[in-house]
Symmetry: C2
Subunit: 334 residues, 2 copies
């Protein structure tokens, strides 16, 4: 590894001269600067990041804690975080919690040892269910910046980036009602998450507001231990539905394929919408219409927010919640 010391020795000058020369200090003579830079380039000198971090008490690295990287939403969010971080000269250390509280605590604890300047966090399901927040409050007490996204731990006060799940599901349902649909099903694999609950409540609220229309509604909370297709097929076979909303990023696709296979004409007989993305939408025949949660945008904004946060770390900023708008992408099932 090439160090300042080494360059200095080669050129018979002092370390500080080299350091200053490389940063174009006007304390240093023009020819010296040139000479130093030339050698540095020749030897492909790169300032040691660790030494810089130690010296400047900042690592230019953000810790990202997510529950599950195989979930496309989080993969996309991470992608957005990454992109924005690269732009702004930051690196990302990722930890995956597998929806477990203890892993989340461990990850945060390990990275709090000076490895990162701040955290972007989507809490695990366990954390949410148990409303645990000690590990997060510890972070806040240590004055380590934190941005929470997607999953809202309401008993923690910090910066947040969310989508308005309630309103999204509400609007979606209302749209279907206005399209003349009357017999609804709501399918969810994520009822344990507040995100899932909010979507369900948005759905229910829209229906309740139109109860003069005598609408029918069914709610299928998927049993994760059993075959998804069987559960969805049972629902679709036993009921004459004309609208299906999937709260997660999988069951919408399955619903389309199952409905198709048992003779539903889509979207004539039944409208189906999921919360997913373009790629998954293309996997079903016909292609699933979906709510685009703009996961990348959420990630980008979370990253921007944490960087802002880093800048006025000591200024007593008040926390804010940024809501990222969603959009409905009409493909072939609405």
């Amino acid at each position: 590894m090439i160090t300042l010391k080494y360059l200095a020795k080669q050129l018979n000058v002092s370390v500080s001269t080299v350091s200053k020369a490389l940063s174009d200090s006007d304390e240093i003579g023009k020819d010296t600067i040139e000479k130093v830079k030339k050698l540095a380039k020749e030897l492909n000198y790169q300032p040691n990041k660790v030494a810089l971090s130690l010296k400047q008490s900042q690592t230019k690295t953000i810790g990202v804690i997510i529950p599950n990287i195989l979930n496309r939403f989080f993969a996309r969010a991470l992608f957005g975080i990454q992109n924005e971080a690269t732009k702004l000269g930051y690196s990302i250390i990722t930890c995956v919690t597998n929806e477990q509280l203890d892993k989340e605590e461990e990850s945060i604890s390990i990275l709090s040892n000076g490895s990162v300047d701040g955290f972007i966090l989507a809490v695990s399901e366990e954390t949410l269910v148990s409303s645990s927040n000690q590990h997060i409050k510890a972070l806040i007490n240590k004055n380590i910046p934190l941005v929470m996204f997607d999953r809202n731990l309401s008993n923690v006060d910090c910066n947040k980036v969310m989508i308005d799940d309630f309103k999204t599901a509400y609007d979606l349902t209302k749209m279907l009602i206005e399209n003349g649909r009357t017999s609804f099903a709501f399918i969810s694999t994520i009822e344990d998450l507040n995100v899932g609950k909010l979507r369900r409540m948005g759905f229910e609220n829209a229906l309740n507001e139109h109860n003069h229309l005598n609408l029918k509604d069914l709610i299928l909370i998927i049993d994760n231990d059993k075959d998804y297709q069987v559960q969805i097929k049972t629902l679709l076979s036993n009921n004459n539905l004309d609208a299906v909303i999937s709260a997660d990023n999988i069951t919408g696709t399955i619903a389309v394929n199952v409905a198709h296979s048992i003779g539903y004409h889509i979207p004539k007989d039944v409208s189906i919408i999921g919360f997913t993305d373009e790629q998954v939408s293309n996997l079903s025949v016909p292609k699933l219409s979906y709510v685009n949660q703009n996961a990348e945008t959420i990630g980008e904004n979370a990253l921007k927010m944490i960087i802002d946060n880093l800048k006025d770390k000591d200024a007593g900023i008040r926390h804010r919640t940024l809501k990222i708008p969603v959009n409905i992408v009409h493909k072939e099932t609405t």
Copy 2:
């Protein structure tokens, strides 16, 4: 931030005493050790990672460079890498190249400044197509350990973790032939990658070896700019196929759904197999049979390999290529 210095001041001892006490040095008196540890625990002291890294010239961090995190294979591999890293006390810094050579070069260059102890790398498509290897050779020259996985840059000599794509596709095709299938199609979105080419060649070789059977075969290289479903539908409508192999992790699912929708009975009329995973398999009706590439295992092994590599960094190790076996998962389309 609590430092050794601070603890030392509180206890009226020297920094070195505290340091030794915390590591249970037998140079230090029992009561001193106790007293130091007590305070450290009370104040939740954590040794500063950056200082440790600088002192010990190792960061206990691995750089992982992947082309695309939205590709489930890489997401799963990353997951495996993560898990294993956590077990072994390592952190992961991830960079996504979006299949671009310049991003790959940039990522590697940035992280080579002492941020990481070694690299796990799946090269980008651009890198592969252009056979660029300067940036990677630079790494090797600097004596920074490197493990390459999945995508093989054959003009670079280093440790590698791969699957035997040729043999896998060959075996798969042979199996279908032995099952009595006679009219084959091979669908691929990844012909640009050597992985994709190897799969195609395995397919072709198996067919060639059985040319006395008068087998028919078609190869559909998907045009990424056009609708996948349309291209696949055209293939399936215009040809009377009884076996379809998808080289990637998407088109298999689409093929099942499209075939189903145009009246094929699966698997009676046609067998379909893809290179994908359990979750995606569940999205089609009927469920897609698939080659499980064991991406997690690949990731885990890559991580183990790089750690081994780190240990005998200076010992002149000869490079090896580890081939991870795949397995065929028979669901409902074979």
